[in-house]
Subunit: 410 residues, 2 copies
C-alpha cells in the first residue's frame, strides 16, 4: 500500500487506445492496493496544433491568452482518462490546475509553482478515487491560468508528489529508463537501474531528454523519489536516488551525455583589461542568448582569446552581437564554428577516482579526435569536439569507461 | 455609447480568418464608443470532435467529465479572439465561465444559470476593455465545470446581458435575421425587422433554428432586447421586442414555422374511462419521450381515439411502449405515421383578427392538402399534414397571409 504520483506524457496519451492502456495500468496499481494520482500532458501534437492557431493570429500573442489556449490540451486529457478509468469501474475524478489550486507566480508560459493545496486531493484519495490532474498548468493569485513551460507536466507531478509526500513519483514516457548513453548512437548502451540525483541533473542539463531539468531540481529540493519508466514496456525503469540512500561503491562514471545543438564563438585578441568578460557577455545576455561553456586563454601578456558556446540556433544573432563588441573592445577578430558538439561523462564516482579526465582524453586521442574546449565540474567532464566525430567519441568513451559490460552497474 | 453583449456562434469563429473578421467587427463598435462583451462558442466542429473522442472511450461517459472535456472548445475560442483583438490594438481579456463565476446548478451537460457575478466584467469594461467570455459553460457551487446544453451560448449571452443590464444582446449567426419562413422553401420569404418576444418563442419552439428557445425565454423573463444578425453580411437583422414596445398595428401573422421531424401515433378504441390519458402518456414520459401535440376524438359513447405526435427519432421506441399500453388498457389497436410534418402560422395579430384559422384551412384545402391534426394557441395555429405536402403548404400559406408582398411588415 503506497501512494504513487504517476505522470503520463503526450505520446502515452496520444490516442484513445493509449489512454485506455494507461487506464488499465492505473487500475492494476489500484488492484494492488496503491493510491494513485495521475498527472497527464496534452495528447501528442495538441499543444503544437493550438500554438499554430495562435500564430495564425499574431506574431506575438499575449502570454496570458496563450496559457488560456494551451491549457485546454491537458484539460481534454484529464476528462478522457477519467472516463476511461470509470469505464473500467475504477472510481476517478479529474481536476484542472485551477481546481486543485496549483498556485504559481504570474509569469505566463513559464510560471513557477509556489504552493499546492492538497486537501481536495487527499479527500478524494481517502474515498478510494484515482485523482487525475492536468499537468503543466496552474493558477496565479488573481485566478489567471498559467502554464509551467515545456515539459512542465514533469514538474507538476514532482510538485504534487512532494506536497502529498508520495512514496514515489513515476514518470511514464516512451523510453524505459535512463541509459548509459543514447542507444541510437551506442548499441551497447544499457539502462541504469539507479542514478543519483546529481548525475541525473547533469545528464538532463547536458542533453539527455528523458527528464526536464526543472523537475529533477524540484525532486532534489524536496527529496522526492523519482522513477522513469516506459508506458509501453513493462519494467522497473530507472530510480533517481539521493546519494546517501544507496551503496557507496560507485562506478566511475554512470553515463555519457551529448548535445549536437552547439556553436562556438571566439573573440580573438581581446585586450587583457579588467571587465573585458562582462563587456563581452553583457550584450550577449541582453540579447536573451544563453551561454553555456566559457573558456578564456591567455594568448600573450597583453591580449586574451575569449571563447564560449551557445545553442546553435542563436549562432547568427550572437555573431552579429560579437562583431559590434569586437569594435567596442578593440579585439582583433570574431571566429565561429557552428558544427561542433559537446560530449560529457557524468558520475558521482569520479569524485573519488583520480585520472578520470585524462582517461577520457586518452580515449579520444586514441581515435584522433581533437578536443576544442574542456569544462569540468565535480561530477562531470565535458569536451567540445567537431560534430562529425560525435558518434565515434561517444562509442569510444562508452567502451573506455566499461559501460559496454553486462555487469549490473546500478 | 451603449453596452452591447455580442454572441458569435461556431460558424462565425470557425477559422482563424473568421475570428479575425469578428475582431474587426468588435473593434468597429468600440470605435463608435460602445462597450462590448463578446460571448463565443467553440469553433464549428470542435464540440463534435471532442464528443467523438469521449464516445471512443465509453458508451455512457460521466456527464461531469463530458463538461470538463467540451468546455475546452469555448476556452480555445476566447483565447484566440482575445489575441485577434489585441493584434488590432483593441484592449481585451478572456474569461472562462468559472473565472467570471457564471454560477449554475449541478445538472451536468444541461445546467441552468443561477447567478452571474458582474464585478469582474464591470471592472474590465470600465478600463475600456473588450471582455471575451466563453459561452455555454459555467461552474457549480462546488467548483465543478458545467455546460448549458446545445445552443447554450445564446443563453449565456442573454444571461450576461440581463446581469449587466446591457442595451442590447446581439446574436451573430449565419443568417441575417428571422424570416417569415425558411427562404430555402419559399423564395419570397422576407426578413422581419422586428418580431415580438412571444412570436419568437413560438417560432423557436416550432422549429425555426435561428435562436435557442431557452435563450428567448431568458430574454423574455428579464426583458433583454435581443437582436439576431449575420456575422457575414452587414444589416440590421431582426429585433425581438416586447409587445408594448412597438406600434399596435400588427400584421395578422408574422411568420410560418415548420418541422419535418415529426411522427404521429394513434391508440384506437381506448375505453372512455377517467385516467386513460395519464395511463397512456405516463409510460411514454417514463421512457423520456417528449410528446408534442395531443388530440382526443370521441369515436362513440364508449371508446375514444387518442392521438399524439413525437419527434420522429422516438417513433420506434414509442410504438413499442404503446403496444404494451394498448394491452393494458384494452385498446383496439396502435396506428402510426412517421412521414408527417407540422406547419404553423404565428402572429400576435391573430388575437384581434377572427377567422385566421379558417383562412389557413381554406388555403390548404385549395391545394387539396388534408389536415391530419390541429392545435392552436393564442398566437399560433399548427396543423399536421403529410410530409410530402410540406413545401406546397408553406408556400400556399405564405401567399395567403400576404407575406410575399414587398411591404414593410415590421
Amino acid at each position: 500500500m503506497a501512494l504513487y504520483v504517476q505522470k503520463f506524457g503526450g505520446t502515452s496519451v496520444g490516442t484513445v487506445e493509449r489512454i485506455q492502456a494507461v487506464a488499465a495500468k492505473i487500475k492494476s496499481f489500484r488492484a494492488q492496493g496503491h493510491d494513485i494520482v495521475a498527472v497527464v500532458s496534452a495528447m501528442s501534437g495538441e499543444t503544437n496544433r493550438l500554438l499554430g492557431l495562435a500564430n495564425g493570429l499574431s506574431d506575438n500573442p499575449s502570454p496570458r491568452e496563450i496559457d488560456v489556449l494551451v491549457s485546454t490540451g491537458e484539460q481534454v486529457t484529464i476528462a478522457l482518462l477519467t472516463m476511461a478509468l470509470q469505464e473500467l469501474d475504477c472510481d476517478a475524478k479529474s481536476y484542472t490546475g485551477d481546481q486543485i489550486k496549483i498556485l504559481t507566480d504570474s509569469a505566463h508560459t513559464k510560471a513557477r509553482i509556489k504552493d499546492i493545496d492538497v486537501k481536495t486531493l487527499q479527500a478524494d484519495l481517502h474515498k478510494g478515487r484515482v485523482v487525475v490532474v492536468a499537468g503543466f498548468q496552474g493558477v496565479d493569485e488573481h485566478g489567471n491560468m498559467t502554464t509551467l513551460g515545456r515539459g512542465g507536466s514533469d514538474t507538476s507531478a514532482v510538485a504534487i508528489a512532494a506536497a502529498l509526500k508520495a512514496d514515489e513519483c513515476q514518470i511514464y514516457t516512451d523510453v524505459d529508463g535512463v541509459y548509459t548513453t543514447d542507444p541510437r548512437v551506442v548499441a551497447q548502451a544499457r539502462r541504469l537501474n539507479k542514478i543519483t540525483f546529481e548525475e541525473m541533473l547533469e545528464m538532463a542539463s547536458l542533453g539527455s531528454k528523458v527528464l526536464q531539468i526543472r523537475a529533477v531540481e524540484f525532486a532534489g529540493k524536496y527529496r522526492v523519489p523519482l522513477r522513469v519508466l516506459s508506458s509501453f514496456v513493462e519494467g522497473e525503469g530507472t530510480l533517481i536516488t539521493f546519494e546517501g540512500d544507496h551503496k557507496m561503491e560507485q562506478p566511475v562514471i554512470s553515463g555519457i551525455a551529448f548535445n549536437r545543438d552547439e556553436a562556438k564563438l571566439t573573440l580573438v585578441g581581446v585586450p587583457d583589461i579588467p571587465g573585458a568578460a562582462s563587456r563581452i557577455l553583457g550584450p550577449v545576455s541582453a540579447a536573451n542568448i544563453e551561454v553555456d561553456m566559457i573558456v578564456q586563454n591567455v594568448a600573450d601578456d597583453k591580449t586574451t582569446d575569449f571563447t564560449f558556446t551557445v545553442n546553435r540556433s542563436d549562432y547568427q544573432q550572437v555573431t552579429r552581437v560579437l562583431e559590434s563588441v569586437a569594435v567596442d573592445l578593440g579585439a582583433q577578430a570574431v571566429r565561429g564554428n557552428d558544427s561542433i558538439a559537446k560530449v560529457s561523462i557524468v558520475g558521482v564516482g569520479m569524485r573519488s577516482h583520480a585520472g578520470v579526465a585524462s582517461r577520457m582524453f586518452d580515449a579520444l586521442a586514441a581515435e584522433s579526435i581533437n578536443i576544442l574546449m574542456i569544462s569540468t565540474s565535480e561530477i562531470k567532464v565535458s569536451v567540445v569536439i567537431e560534430e562529425k566525430y560525435l558518434e565515434l567519441a561517444v562509442r569510444a568513451l562508452h567502451t573506455a569507461f566499461d559501460l559496454d559490460s553486462e555487469n549490473d552497474i546500478e
